[in-house]
């Protein structure tokens, strides 16, 4: 994980107002209302997005998901950071730096 990616761990994740998502049978579809583009994510990714939104930081979300899926925290952190980077690139989430770390 790069330094930049490590910094991401202490950020919180928010879904911007211009992004909506709905659950379908086997996936969740995310729609960026500004671009009109749909993006499909599987159930595990949708669960990651839910936990990310409920957690104060990505690091805390990783701890929660590591416990839920009985996986090492560092592996989940790596997965979450990559997941968030992908969503950021598609402008489907925004990250907010936490002042208190």
């Amino acid at each position: 994980m790069t330094m930049e990616e490590r910094d991401l761990l202490d950020c919180s994740v928010v879904v911007p107002k211009n992004v909506v998502y709905r659950e379908f049978a086997h996936e969740t579809v995310i729609l960026n209302l500004d671009t009109g583009k749909y993006h499909g994510i599987n159930r595990t990714a949708a669960r990651m997005l839910d936990v990310l939104q409920q957690s104060p930081t990505i690091r805390v979300a990783a701890e929660s998901l590591a416990e839920e899926y009985a996986q090492p925290v560092d592996r989940i952190e790596t997965d979450l950071v990559a997941f968030c980077a992908g969503l950021l690139e598609r402008e489907l989430i925004a990250v907010v730096e936490r002042g208190d770390g």
Partner: protein
């Protein structure tokens, strides 16, 4: 100076010349011109909360309206192979402008309640093709309905939609389903509305355009009473028995030709993407409209059976209609 006032485009609803009344795509439509292939409501009560006024205007009035509204930005166009325009759609602050050669010119107010129509003098019924394919679906969409690229029939008081790429035989299948006792809800575009997860569809025009050979394949006692042709169109347009009321959507069939298939196969599907790709008016890209389509797709996927239909290369529309008709009859 440009104005965005829709009242400059068409007069307000009401007036002694608005003698014609019809329903289509969830709209209760009043007009100063009779519109072929639309049915009149049964009574004088409003047929729903969505009303629209269509007024035929002369060429000069239309030119003045276009000039006054000004600044129509192209948002959609379709052209013939020669490059000549087939359909142009523009948008200004207060209205949409739709034009097609020999089909006339239309202005739809941004709220979808007022339509000005400059109908060609010698166009016969032909002008209604553009009205049905673009103008009224746009007005319905601007009034909050979601229009999907699909045909639809009614059987036993429930609606069944058929979505398919162009050339799959969707309209021909609709024709043969009606010959087997279904009622036409709409050809090519269906207006939908979601309430508490339930999906309602609204009838459109009574007309379907099909290959003339398909009419010949109908049983002799089921051939349509009214069939007509239009210039430069190889299709026969037939007036069919049609639904007159809003109906619950009970199924949606996704038709596709599969040359590798040896038999026609109907299979339950949970694939959301064909639904997401079924928006009819792709140029309506406002946040509210995009979100509505996603909500509609989610409601259909969550509450309405979706069926993938693989059609072998040698299956006719008669075969497909027989299989779908049996499936619809057996459903719920």
């Amino acid at each position: 100076m440009a104005t965005a006032d829709p009242a400059a485009v068409a007069p307000q609803r009401g007036g002694p010349d608005l003698r014609s009344r019809a329903f289509a795509f969830g709209l209760d439509l009043v007009s100063n011109v009779d519109i072929p292939y639309l049915s009149a409501p049964d009574d004088d009560a409003p047929n729903g909360s969505r009303t629209a006024t269509l007024r035929r205007v002369g060429r000069d009035t239309m030119r003045r309206s276009v000039r006054d509204l000004g600044g129509f930005v192209p948002v959609f166009e379709r052209r013939f192979a020669s490059g000549r325009p087939m359909l142009l759609v523009g948008k200004s602050t207060g209205a949409y402008r739709i034009w097609g050669p020999r089909h006339g010119e239309y202005i739809v107010s941004a709220d979808g309640r007022l339509v000005s129509a400059q109908i060609p003098d010698n166009g016969g019924w032909w002008w209604t093709r553009l009205l049905f394919a673009q103008v009224l679906p746009l007005a319905a969409s601007l009034q909050g309905l979601e229009c999907l690229h699909a045909g639809c029939v009614a059987l036993g008081g429930r609606a069944f939609a058929l979505a398919a790429p162009s050339g799959t035989g969707k309209s021909s299948t609709l024709l043969h389903l009606v010959a087997r006792g279904a009622l036409l809800v709409s050809d090519d575009v269906v207006a939908t509305e979601v309430h508490d997860g339930a999906v309602t569809v609204y009838p459109g025009p009574r007309i379907v355009g099909v290959d003339p050979a398909e009419v010949g394949r109908l049983p002799s006692d089921r051939r349509p009473v009214t069939a007509t042709f239009a210039p430069d169109d190889p299709k026969t347009h037939v007036d069919l028995p049609a639904a007159r009321e809003a109906l619950p959507l009970a199924g949606i069939y996704f038709l596709r030709r599969d040359p590798a298939a040896s038999t026609l196969v109907l299979r339950a599907s949970t694939d959301a993407w064909p639904l997401l790709g079924s928006r009819f008016l792709s140029y309506l890209d406002g946040a509210e409209q995009l979100a509505r389509h996603l909500d509609t797709a989610a409601a259909i996927a969550g509450n309405v059976p979706m069926i993938d239909v693989a059609i072998p290369g040698d299956s006719s529309a008669v075969d497909v209609a027989a299989a779908l008709g049996a499936h619809m009859s057996a459903a719920g």
